[in-house]
């Protein structure tokens, strides 16, 4: 029922932001405290957990051998799935993924895919027949807003931590050999999200801000400062000037956050 309370707080949130402040004492362009832990699920080929304030996201990577898509016979396959598990929020219901979790998965997917984070050509075992399939499973463990940035960052941190089994081909059979190779990761896209509240842009909206925001915009920025994916959400709109301002600030913030990743 927290959304009810937020409706009452709406005025207070909006007035505070209009003054350039926020109810949790952050500046408009400050992220919450961020903590990155890699390799916490030994069973998975790669994993990372992100704490963004109270928002907590775990990403596990599994790698299996499968078939490539027929239009890209010389590339491995990337699959991103997101689960809004019910223990993360009273508003998450058990059941098949809803539109929110599918949108989240697709935003994370686009950030990784369009920036060419993974060198998918190196995932080919036998062109057109056998490739490595990289499963990125985003697991939201506690929801306190801005799942997009936390999930996207956790996904990249997990990919950086991913090891693939060595293999050899004998009599048309793929045999797993001892030892591991690091997953070929070329880029480190960072997704930065802004919410628009009372005509101001605030970075990294937490839950209460998300519940009152007019609109939201996320941009994935690669190592060279290029924008490689965008998602606008929410029922409000952005002006051209705001979009350009977001692009500029997202680039700065992405560079700062990227420094926290280890590779």
């Amino acid at each position: 029922m927290s959304s009810v309370i937020t409706r009452v707080k709406q005025k207070q949130i909006a007035q505070t932001i209009a003054k350039g402040k926020r109810l949790d004492d952050r500046g408009l362009t400050d992220y919450r405290e961020m903590k990155i832990e890699q390799g916490i699920i030994e069973r998975a080929e790669g994993s990372a957990r992100i704490l963004l304030g109270k928002t907590e996201v775990l990403v596990g990577i599994k790698i299996e051998i499968g078939e490539p898509f027929s239009d890209t016979p010389n590339e491995g396959v990337l699959t991103v799935n997101a689960e809004l598990v019910p223990l993360a929020s009273p508003t998450f219901e058990p059941g098949p993924p809803d539109e929110n979790s599918i949108e989240l998965a697709r935003i994370v997917d686009r950030g990784i895919r369009e920036s060419k984070t993974i060198d998918t050509e190196k995932l080919v075992i036998e062109p057109g027949k056998k490739v490595f399939v990289v499963f990125v499973d985003v697991y939201v463990l506690n929801h306190d807003g801005n799942l997009i940035d936390a999930s996207a960052l956790a996904a990249v941190a997990a990919l950086l931590n991913t090891k693939m089994s060595n293999y050899e081909i004998k009599d048309d059979e793929v045999k797993i050999k001892p030892g591991y190779t690091q997953l070929p990761v070329k880029k480190h896209p960072i997704t930065v999200t802004f919410a628009k509240i009372s005509d101001k842009l605030v970075i990294d909206p937490w839950l209460e801000e998300e519940q009152v925001m007019d609109a939201r915009i996320s941009m994935a920025i690669d190592d060279d400062g290029n924008i490689c994916a965008i998602q606008k959400g929410g029922s409000g709109y952005f002006t051209e000037k705001e979009v350009l301002e977001v692009a500029k600030m997202a680039r700065e913030k992405a560079a700062e956050i990227r420094k926290k990743l280890k590779w």
Binding site: A44, I61, P86, N142
Partner: protein, 244 residues
């Protein structure tokens, strides 16, 4: 069930991870780690990593599931796709649905269900990494989460498995022992009431072996119970009193 690929117990009588037959894996329990749940707990038991959360009591939806004279516990045991060696599809399997039911039924005897008519409590369990005996670790964590949610209970519920590998009765099976051993007996216990609330078995045991296995599992439950108490007390030692 028993495909003896490797020796599970070596000449010194030690198991693959160096444990003695009657030894538990290292266990860590944390209380109240999820801010959106009414109660929560995290358990690491060996390589098992499991989160449990309790929500409620709250109005039941759909309403026809509510009972006029008591509350209803609903439970969802779910494994993360990356929790096992081969990626698991996130949609619930038949195994997960059965485990959800037996876990729920192992917790029901402890709760004062009649205090909260027409309400429901939801228990959500997420296995982040699985390494055998996850149902037991889930029950251990879920009962701590229920206590953390302030649900009045007769007792905590502690759970532990015993089984048989290489003709030896062992405690707290890990994945390989579960898969390659010849029997697995998960047990849940309300320690102060001496009430067994979960008992399953697969494999084959003589009646003497069964007795030994159950006794060993119960001993394991009592050790785990001490750790549950320790975790709850550590969490609340600084709390003076809640405002009513």
């Amino acid at each position: 069930m028993s495909q003896k690929a490797e020796k599970l117990i070596d000449k010194k009588g030690l198991r693959l991870d160096g444990r003695k037959p009657d030894e538990l894996r290292p266990i860590k329990i944390e209380v109240g780690i999820l801010s959106n749940a009414d109660g929560s707990a995290y358990i690491e038991q060996g390589k098992n990593k499991i989160l449990a959360a309790a929500f409620g009591p709250r109005e039941m939806h759909p309403k026809h599931l509510a009972l006029p004279d008591r509350m209803v516990i609903r439970c969802r045991y779910h494994m993360a796709p990356f929790s096992v060696q081969e990626r698991k599809s996130p949609s619930p399997s038949r195994r997960e649905i059965e485990l959800s039911k037996v876990i729920k039924e192992s917790l029901e005897p402890t709760a004062f269900m009649e205090y909260y008519p027409r309400t429901g409590v939801d228990i959500f369990i997420e296995v982040l990494q699985a390494d055998g005996s996850t149902r037991c670790a889930s029950i251990t964590a879920a009962s701590v989460a229920m206590a953390d949610a302030g649900i009045p209970m007769r007792d905590l519920v502690a759970a532990c498995s015993a089984g048989k590998v290489d003709d030896t009765i062992i405690l707290d099976l890990m994945d390989t022992e579960d898969k390659q051993g010849s029997a697995d007996v998960p047990v849940a216990l309300m320690p102060n009431q001496n009430a067994i609330t979960l008992l399953q078995m697969d494999g084959t045991l003589t009646s003497e072996e069964f007795e030994n296995a159950v006794n060993l599992a119960l001993e394991g439950c009592r050790k785990i119970y001490a750790m549950q108490k320790e975790a709850l007390k550590t969490k609340y030692v600084d709390v003076k009193e809640v405002e009513e």
